[in-house]
């Protein structure tokens, strides 16, 4: 069977799987960004209890494997009466796992803003809200976006794992086609290519654009 007839027959299935992968990616991206911000800030709190909670959360999710967390959310939570749909379980596990990594990036970003900036804003009598919103946050983005971009590419790769808890994504479809046709090179090769194209031609340029935008905002010009 030539590669083109393979594509003609199974291309549509793979594209449908890709759409699911993109959905998983976007949902878990939103979730992980929110979690990173909350826990990144909590980690810097002066309140020891809040800081402790954030530290335990981060160490826990960074210390165990994503696959274990995913299976735990999907297969073990029902024991406690919480049954999540596969898609939701996948997104929650990805969001929680990457949120832990993201929180450390956010924390590092906030700490990297020079202390003088806080002091200057204080000296100019800016309100605390204005200080954060106008002075600190615009300076955080150029610092955290490059590592966050790396993390997001890792997230795209990690979405493949949701196939193992029966989410019908690109990986799942590729595996399915493989078990029907045994055209392993074609189906896994195509899946690899699709992931590569998503990462290199869509996700990375988008994140790079965000980086440039954030850098311009604080007057660092085009990078």
């Amino acid at each position: 069977m030539s590669y083109f007839s393979f594509l003609a027959e199974h291309g549509m299935t793979l594209i449908l799987g890709t759409v699911t992968t993109i959905k998983v990616l976007i949902c878990s991206m939103v979730l992980y960004v929110i979690i990173s911000m909350i826990f990144g800030l909590m980690r810097l709190s002066k309140n020891l209890i809040i800081q402790g909670i954030a530290t335990v959360y981060i160490e826990f999710f960074r210390g165990t494997s994503l696959l274990v967390q995913l299976f735990w959310v999907y297969y073990v939570l029902p024991f406690f009466g919480i049954s999540l749909e596969a898609f939701v379980a996948g997104v929650v596990a990805l969001g929680l796992n990457f949120g832990a990594y993201g929180a450390e990036i956010v924390r590092g970003g906030i700490l990297a803003v020079p202390k003088g900036q806080w002091e200057a804003a204080h000296a100019l009598n800016f309100s605390p809200a204005k200080r954060i919103k106008r002075i600190i946050i615009p300076q955080i983005f150029p610092i955290i976006l490059p590592p966050a971009a790396n993390l997001t590419v890792e997230l795209l790769k990690a979405t493949a794992l949701v196939a193992l808890v029966t989410v019908v994504d690109l990986t799942f479809e590729a595996k399915q086609i493989n078990s029907i046709t045994w055209l392993s090179a074609q189906c896994f090769g195509t899946a690899l290519l699709i992931y590569y194209i998503m990462a290199r031609l869509a996700l990375v340029p988008f994140l790079r654009w965000l980086e440039v935008l954030a850098a311009k905002k604080v007057g660092r010009g085009s990078l």
Partner: protein, 225 residues
Amino acid sequence: MEMGFKWDFAYEILPQMLWATLNTIIAAGVGYAIALVVGLFFLLGQRTPSKIINGINREIVEFIRSTPLLIQLFFVYFVLPQFGIKLSAWVCGMITIGLHFGTYLSEVYRGALEGVSKAQWEACRALNFSTAYTYRRIVLPQAFPIAIPGMGNYLVGIFKDTPLLSTIGVAELFHAATAVGGYNYRYLEPYTMVGIIFLILSVPAAMWVRKLERKVNVAQGKIKQ
């Protein structure tokens, strides 16, 4: 079905889980050893003067880095036999992990080499040292400490990615947990125990790496003690 954590069941399956943990550690160790060497080859590809080899090397590295390890595992496991290369799940897993993380390690090596100041090279040139001698006695001893934290991070990273090997049937910890869970229709205890075993092993390792990182930064004069 009984709710809650059953301690006697957990105790019963503990020996099985600990044996499987040994397999996980072996898999991580062997995969890491391969990755360390593969990383060197990618580094060589990066540093050869030939632009064509540089380009090909970069594309291969980018491709491996931006595609999921899971599908790479499937690819190696299912495709190689079609070309008459029959390898066990263990060997396939080790090759794939070695290749995947080798690309990451080559970046660590590159960063470390670039972290050695250019003046060092110039000084060696001025002293008429050969390139080999410069690498061996001047550059590598300075680059190695810079590379250590990154190398440590990926050891922990590989360790945390070993559960993926269970998908192609390598009998490591996660595979054992799934088997035990399926046999007894109870996933709560096995999967929870896998999580705890991972925590026990990887949190101290990660802390140790962070300590090393700090030490290196202090030695490099990047941060004060």
